[in-house]
């Protein structure tokens, strides 16, 4: 190896080393935004404002979900299971066969009171949208994921449903629209859904 080749290699190695160090230093730019809030900004007035500090938990204070007031744990869990099942059915569509997205709500009528089930009305317009049309063309159906949404107010049960469009051979279609709904279910004394919104 000539002296010149050696020098070239050294220079290139140095450049590579610099690149690696630079990338390492810049890495935080590409990280997702931290969930920790920024330091408090100065107040406009001389009033001293302290950052909120976790206090000694009171008896009902918790970081996890709690049973809804006036309800037994069993009853609460039963409602949650019904709500999860309803949200799952309501976000399972077959665009090749469903005229509207409400068609899926009709399939969840067995979980509802007679009055609420009878009140389901489908809109006049057939369903559309880029994802719906693409799914119909590909013979895809929606595959929902449902979870209880505790971070809201009672007394009903809230469920967050997300979905992706899956072709018969299991391929997921790229989503171009929001694929998320927040459901709110309310129950009658028999544990049936007697109203819902999203």
């Amino acid at each position: 190896m000539t002296r010149r080749t050696c020098t070239l290699l050294i220079v290139l190695a140095l450049a590579c080393l610099t690149a690696v160090i630079t990338l390492a230093v810049l890495q935080p730019w590409n990280k997702p935004t931290s969930s920790v809030p920024a330091d408090p900004l100065p107040t406009l007035s001389p009033t001293a404002v302290q950052s909120p500090q976790p206090s000694t938990p009171r008896s009902t204070e918790t970081t996890g979900p709690v049973t809804r007031p006036g309800m037994s744990l069993d009853q609460d869990q039963e409602h949650q299971q019904t709500a999860l099942e309803a949200a799952r059915i309501m976000t399972t569509w077959n665009p090749s066969e469903d005229m509207t997205r409400t068609d899926a709500e009709l399939r969840a009528r067995h979980l509802m009171s007679q009055e609420r089930a009878a009140a389901i009305t489908a809109p006049q317009r057939p369903a559309s949208g880029a994802d719906w049309l693409a799914a119909a063309q590909a013979g895809a159906t929606s595959s929902p994921t449902v979870e209880i949404n505790h971070a809201t107010e009672g007394p009903g049960v809230s469920v967050i449903a997300t979905w992706e469009w899956t072709t018969p051979d299991g391929q997921a279609l790229p989503a171009t629209e929001e694929s998320r709904r927040i459901y709110f279910f309310h129950f009658n004394e028999e544990g049936q859904i007697d109203d819902y919104t999203y």
Binding site: L44, P52, P95, A127, S128, Y196, T197
Partner: protein, 365 residues
């Protein structure tokens, strides 16, 4: 290589090395900056590179909006929602073209080929005009006029007239909200919502997310009736969520969304309102138009401000919690109209949807 040439080569190589050492980090830094997601400003300028109406359709959309007597952003958002600007789109139900006309509707409003984008947009204008005329007598505000027209498009004008208003069809309610959001986000001028801001100009001061990193867990508006249906008929306010909720699994910190003066704080046990709101805070925006902010369900004992404090945008106020009517940690964020009471009285009837206001200030909730 002679001695002089050898030295020259060494100097040359040295310079290249130095240049590389200087340029490589600069180039990498620049590339890294380009890869960083652009700061999301909430909505895209109409006609911009990344959003807005495709240039070839803009004149037709403007004509259709004029024909219908509706905002350009509304017609654009509808077409985006129908076909994503694909003139050849066909739905399994048989809807065709850019505006997804069903053959029977096209027979009434269309002229020519339903797959002709210009003809499709023009027909959309004529169709929306007729729908608007059918339901506009119900509307008392510009916002209602727009929402009722959208509801009539989705559910049919008879359903809107019979309700009267937006029918209690969740899919229709979702459609109305979706078009409003889409219009403001992608097709509005200066991020102003359809029908104009409910509050008007929100001032020039900076705003921030009321709970940075918080996940939106409930929108403003219709909710399942939480009590008996008859009671909900008597108290329609029960059928509406008067704010938006954010959750972060207990780690969320509510912050001042704008420079604000704290006017009221209360612990859960201190009043009947506190029993529902938990530990809560009310404050007023320092600058005009002086909207009122509320934060409910703060974790017990974490309120870090006091009535009379004036705090800068971003100042932590409290930690999310489960005080009051809450099943898991979250913050209920509410905006009341300017001029409403600053004390601890019930003001939910004066609440407006914070979502379009946050979008208006460049914040995506």
């Amino acid at each position: 290589m002679d001695k002089q040439g050898g030295a020259g080569t060494w100097i040359g190589l040295g310079l290249i090395g130095v240049l590389l050492l200087v340029l490589v980090p600069v180039l990498l830094f620049t590339a890294s900056q380009e890869e960083r997601p652009a700061v999301f400003t909430g909505c895209l300028p109409a006609g911009g590179d990344e959003g807005g109406i495709p240039a070839q359709y803009r004149p037709a959309v403007e004509d259709a909006a004029r024909e219908a007597g509706l905002p350009v952003a509304l017609i654009a958002a509808q077409i985006k929602a129908e076909s994503d600007w694909n003139p050849q789109a066909v739905s399994p139900a048989g809807a065709q073209g850019l505006a997804q006309f069903m053959p029977e509707t096209w027979a009434a409003y269309g002229i020519g080929d339903p797959f002709d984008p210009q003809a499709s947009i023009a027909a959309q204008g004529r169709y929306m005009k007729e729908l608007l005329e059918a339901v506009s007598s119900l509307a008392t505000t510009e916002k209602e006029r727009i929402d009722f027209a959208l509801a009539a498009y989705n559910a049919g004008p008879t359903a809107v007239l019979n309700t009267p208003g937006i029918p209690p069809i969740p899919e229709t309610q979702e459609y109305v909200q979706r078009i409003n959001r889409l219009a403001q986000l992608d097709y509005s001028v200066d991020c102003v919502p359809l029908g104009g801001s409910e509050i008007g100009d929100l001032g020039t001061g900076e705003w921030t997310h009321p709970m940075p990193g918080g996940i939106l867990t409930s929108r403003f508006g219709p909710r399942a009736c939480p009590v008996s249906l008859s009671l909900c008929m008597i108290y329609p306010d029960l059928l509406n969520h008067r704010g938006i909720d954010f959750g972060m699994g207990g780690a969320g910190i509510a912050v001042a969304p704008a420079d604000m003066r704290i006017t009221f704080t209360q612990r859960e046990h201190e009043s009947s309102l506190g029993a529902a709101y938990g530990d809560w805070i009310r404050g007023v925006q320092v600058e005009s138009p002086h909207v009122i902010f509320e934060f409910h369900h703060c974790a017990a004992g974490t309120i870090a401000v006091h009535p009379g404090d004036t705090v800068a945008v971003g100042t932590p106020l409290c930690r999310e919690g489960v005080t009051g009517n809450s099943s898991a940690p979250h913050i209920h964020f509410q905006i009341n109209k300017p001029g409403t009471a600053l004390d601890g009285s019930y003001q939910a009837n004066h609440a407006v949807d914070p979502y379009p206001l946050l979008l208006q200030k460049g914040i995506t909730p």
